[in-house]
Amino acid sequence: MGTESVLLGFTLLFGVYMAWNVGANDVANAMGTSVGSRALTLRRAVVVAAIMEFCGAFFVGSHVSDTVRRGIVNPEIFVSNPLFLAYGMIAALLAAGAWLQVASYYGWPVSTTHSIIGAILGFGVVIGGFRAVYWHQVGTIVMSWIVSPLMGGIIAYLIFTLLRRRIFYASNPVEAAKKLTPWLVFSLFFVLTLVMLFKGLKNLNLHLPFARALEFATAIGLIAALVSWPLVRRIRAGVAPQRELEIQPPKVAKALIKAVKNLRQAQTDSSGETHYQLTRLLSEVEMLAKTAQRGMEVEAGGDHLKAVERIFAYLQIMSACFVAFAHGANDVANAIGPLAAAVDVLKTGFVAMEASVPIWMLALGGLGIVVGLATWGWRVIETIGKKITELTPTRGFSAEFGAAMTIVIASKIGLPISTTHTLVGAVLGIGLARGLGALNLRIVRDIIVSWIVTIPAGAILAVLFFYVFRGLFG
C-alpha cells in the first residue's frame, strides 16, 4: 500500500503541476491578444480566463483527456505489469514539465501539448515496444498539428475579409458594423453551444442527438443575437464635436516652429520664475505647432474607425471567452490525460480503465489551470499585452474567432492540438489579409524547429524518468 500511496501523491502533484504550467503560460498566449487590443483590462482578462478555462476543462475536457489517456499508447500492453504504465505516465508528466522549463528559459516556442505527446510516445515505444503505440492515431494527431494552425489561419482570414468587405468598404462603417454584430454574435454562440451539447456534457448526464443539439444551438444563438442588437445600437459613433481641423497654410506651422525655437533659447538662458513660465509656454506652443503641422490628420474618418473598433472591443470580449473555453477544453488533457491513466492503475492495481475520465479529475485540472493563472499567468498576460500594441479589436476578434473555432472542434474530436500555435496561425491569417503592420516570420521557423526537437526531447526525458521511477519503486 505504501508505494502506491507515494506514487499516487506523485501523480497528483505532477498532474497539478502540469495544469499549473498550462495556466501559467499557455492561457496567457490565448488571452494576451485581448489585453493587447485593450478589449479587456488585465484584471478582467484574468477573471474571464479563470471562469471560462474552468468551464471548458470541466465540460468538454474529457474528449482530449481520453485520447491522451489511452488513445496513444495501448494500455493493454501493460496488463502483465500495470505499474509500468503508471511509471510511464508519471514520467511523461515530469518530462514534459522539465522540458517546458528548459524551453521557457531559452525562449523556444515549445508547445505543452507537443511535449506531453512526445513524452508519452517515447515511453510507449521504448517500454511497451513499437506495437504499443496506436500509430494510426498518432498520425492523425500529427496531421492535426499541421492542419490546426492552417485552419485557424483560414478562418481568421475569412472573418477578417468579411469585416473588410462589410465594414471598411461601407460608406458608413459604424452602421455597417452595427448591422453585422448580431450575425457574428449568433455564429459565435451557435458554434459554442453546438459543440458543448452535441454528444457532450456526459458529465451532466445530458445526451443530445445532433438534431436536438442543433435546435438548442440555434435557439441560444438567436437569443444572444437578439440581446446584442439593442445593446450595439446604443454605442454612439462618437463623432460628437465634429473636429474638422481647418487646414492651416504651411506658413503658420513654420512660424510656430520658429517660435518654439526662440522660446527654447529663452528658456535655457533664463532662470527662476521666468524660466518656469517659459517652460509652460514652450510646451503649449509646441503642442500648437504639432497640431498645425499635422493639419489634415485629425478627420472625421478616424473617429468612425474608432467607433467600429469600440464595437468590436465588445465582440472581442466574447471571442476571448470562447478562446479561453476552447483552450481549457483542449489543454486540460495535457495534465489530466496522463494523470487519469496513472491514477486508474494505482487505485485498482489493474489496467482496467473506467469508461471516461472522472469528473473530479477534470475539476482538478481546471482548478490547477486557474491557480496557475492566478499565481503566474497574469504576469505573462501583462507582459504579452504590453508587447502587442498594434492589435486592434477587429483584428483580435477575427484571430480569436478563427483560433477558438479550430480548437473547439479539435477538442470535440479529441485531438490534442497546440492552442498557441493555432493562434499564431490565426494571427498570420490576419496578416495575409493585410491587417497587421509587421509580423515576425522567424517565430514560425522557430515553431517548426521546436516541433521537430520537442518530440524526441520529451521522449528521451520520459524514458529517463521512467527508469528512475522503476529503480526507485521496483
Partner: protein, 244 residues
C-alpha cells in the same frame, strides 16, 4: 555600481526570461511609423528650401549659407532614419505591403531630401539675384512645388489610417483622390516651369552664361520636388485595395 532603481527595473526583465510569450514575439515593429518619421525629416528639408529663397529674395547671403547647412543636417537625419527602417526590413518580416514598393517609397522620399540639399548647394555656388523678369513666376513655381510635396506628405501621413482599414474601403478611396491631386498639381508645376524657362530665355543675352546655366539647374532641381512627389503618390496608389 547599479542603483537600486536600475536593479528594480531589471527584475521584470529577468522574469520575462521565464515566460513563454510566443504570441507577443510574433508581432514585429510596423514599418509605417518609421516611414512617416523619415518623411517628417524630409519635410523639414523642403520647408527650408522655402526659407532659402526668402533669404535670396532679401539678399541675405549669409543666411543662405546657414540654411543650406541646416538642410544638409536635416538630410543627414533623414538618412539615419532611412537606414534604421531598412535594417528593420532585413528579412523574416511579413508586411501588409509589398516590401519592394515600401523601399521604393523610402528611396523616393530620400531623393526629395537629396534634391533639397542640391538646391541649397546650388544657391551657395554663386551670388545670385532674383531677376525682376521671372521673380513672380518663380515664386509661383516654387509654391506649386511645395504644395505638391505637401499633398505627398499628407498621403504618407494617411498610411497609418490606411493600415487600420487594411488598405481598403473609404480610406483607400480618399488616398486615391489625394494621389490624383498630386498628379494634377505636378502637371500645373510643369506648366509653370515651361513659362519660367521662357522668361529665363528672354534674358539669354543679358545674363552671364554661368548664371544662366545655374538658374536652369535650380529650376530643374525645384521642379524635381513635384516630380518625385508625384512618383511617390503613384507608388502609394499601388498599395491600395480599390474596388473594381
Amino acid at each position: 555600481m547599479e542603483s537600486l532603481d536600475e536593479r528594480k527595473e531589471k527584475i521584470p526583465h529577468l522574469l520575462e526570461n521565464l515566460m513563454r510569450t510566443i504570441i507577443a514575439r510574433l508581432f514585429g515593429r510596423s514599418p509605417i511609423p518609421p516611414l512617416q518619421f523619415h518623411m517628417s525629416k524630409v519635410a523639414e528639408c523642403v520647408q527650408k528650401v522655402d526659407d532659402l529663397f526668402s533669404a535670396l529674395n532679401a539678399g541675405d547671403y549669409e543666411k543662405i549659407k546657414t540654411i543650406s547647412e541646416q538642410i544638409s543636417e536635416s538630410e543627414h537625419a533623414a538618412d539615419l532614419a532611412k537606414d534604421d527602417l531598412r535594417n528593420d526590413l532585413a528579412h523574416g518580416v511579413f508586411l501588409p505591403v509589398d516590401k519592394t514598393t515600401l523601399l521604393t517609397i523610402l528611396a523616393l522620399q530620400d531623393s526629395i531630401a537629396d534634391k533639397c540639399e542640391d538646391i541649397g548647394v546650388l544657391l551657395t555656388l554663386k551670388r545670385l539675384e532674383l531677376s525682376e523678369t521671372f521673380k513672380d513666376d518663380f515664386q509661383q513655381f516654387l509654391s506649386k512645388n511645395l504644395e505638391t510635396f505637401g499633398v505627398a506628405q499628407r498621403i504618407i501621413q494617411q498610411l497609418d489610417e490606411l493600415l487600420s482599414t487594411s488598405f481598403a474601403g473609404v480610406e483607400a478611396e480618399k488616398v486615391k483622390k489625394m494621389v490624383d491631386d498630386v498628379a494634377f498639381k505636378e502637371h500645373e508645376a510643369d506648366l509653370l516651369q515651361r513659362r519660367l524657362l521662357q522668361r529665363l530665355f528672354e534674358l539669354e543675352s543679358a545674363m552671364p552664361h554661368g548664371t544662366f546655366y545655374l538658374w536652369q539647374k535650380i529650376f530643374e532641381a525645384v521642379g524635381n520636388l513635384s516630380n518625385l512627389s508625384e512618383n511617390l503618390g503613384h507608388r502609394v496608389r499601388t498599395l491600395l485595395d480599390l474596388k473594381s
